[in-house]
C-alpha cells in the first residue's frame, strides 16, 4: 500500500493562505499597488494568450 508523502508548504486545498492574502491586501496594500501587480500579470497573460492563439491556428 502506498504511503502518502507528508506535504510541506503554506498552500492548502481549503485556500487558507489565499484568504489570508486577500485580508492582508485589504488591510495593507493601496489599491493602486494591487492594480499595478494585476496589470503586470495581465501583460504577461496577454503574451501567453497570444502564443496560445498562434498555436491553435497553426
Amino acid at each position: 500500500m502506498a504511503v502518502r508523502r507528508e506535504r510541506i508548504g503554506n498552500w492548502s486545498p481549503d485556500g487558507k493562505a489565499e484568504s489570508a492574502r486577500l485580508r492582508r491586501d485589504y488591510l495593507e496594500l493601496a489599491p493602486a499597488e494591487r492594480i499595478k501587480q494585476v496589470c503586470e500579470l495581465s501583460r504577461f497573460m496577454s503574451r501567453v494568450a497570444e502564443a496560445g492563439r498562434r498555436q491553435r491556428s497553426a
Binding site: 508548504g9 503554506n10 485556500g15 492574502r21 495581465s42 503574451r47 501567453v48
Partner: protein, 141 residues
C-alpha cells in the same frame, strides 16, 4: 504553467491574481527557481509570523525539493509554486502532454487543455468551474 495564465493560453483571457508554476523537480532547475524567487523578494504568504517561522525557507532549493506547494508574495505579485494535488505529483502528471511555446525567446511550458480541465475539475472551486464553462464557450464546445 497552470492556473489562470494557462486558462488564458487555452482561450479564455481574464485577469488573474497570481502565476502558478509547476517546476521541473531536478536540483539544477530548483536552484534556478530559488534564485529567481530571491531576486523577486519573494516571501511566504498567508502565514502568520509564528507559522512562517515554523516552516522551512521556500527560497532554498533543498526546501523546494521536498515537493511542497508554496504561496509566495513577490514584488511583481503573487507567485505560487505547485508540486502536488491530491495524491498526484504535478510534474509527472503534466509534463508529458505540456505544450511548449516561445515567449520572445524564452521557452515556456503550459499544461495541456485536457490536463488543465482535469486539474480544474479536481479543484472544483466556483472559480474553477466558471473557468471551465467559459473555456467551453470560448472554444465552441
Amino acid at each position: 504553467m497552470i492556473g489562470g495564465v494557462a486558462v488564458g493560453f487555452h482561450g479564455y483571457v481574464r485577469a488573474t491574481k497570481d502565476l502558478d508554476v509547476v517546476p521541473a523537480p531536478d536540483p539544477s532547475n530548483l536552484e534556478r527557481l530559488a534564485a529567481v524567487l530571491r531576486d523577486l523578494d519573494a516571501e511566504l504568504d498567508g502565514a502568520g509570523e509564528s507559522e512562517a517561522s515554523e516552516l522551512p525557507d521556500p527560497l532554498d532549493a533543498d526546501t523546494l525539493g521536498l515537493g511542497g506547494n508554496w504561496v509566495l508574495q513577490t514584488r511583481l505579485g503573487r507567485f505560487d509554486v505547485m508540486q502536488w494535488i491530491g495524491d498526484s505529483e504535478l510534474w509527472g502528471m503534466l509534463s508529458p502532454a505540456a505544450l511548449e511555446v516561445d515567449l520572445d525567446g524564452i521557452r515556456v511550458r503550459v499544461a495541456s487543455y485536457e490536463d488543465l480541465v482535469a486539474l480544474k475539475r479536481q479543484a472544483g472551486r466556483p472559480s474553477d468551474l466558471e473557468d471551465l464553462e467559459r473555456l467551453r464557450q470560448a472554444r465552441g464546445e
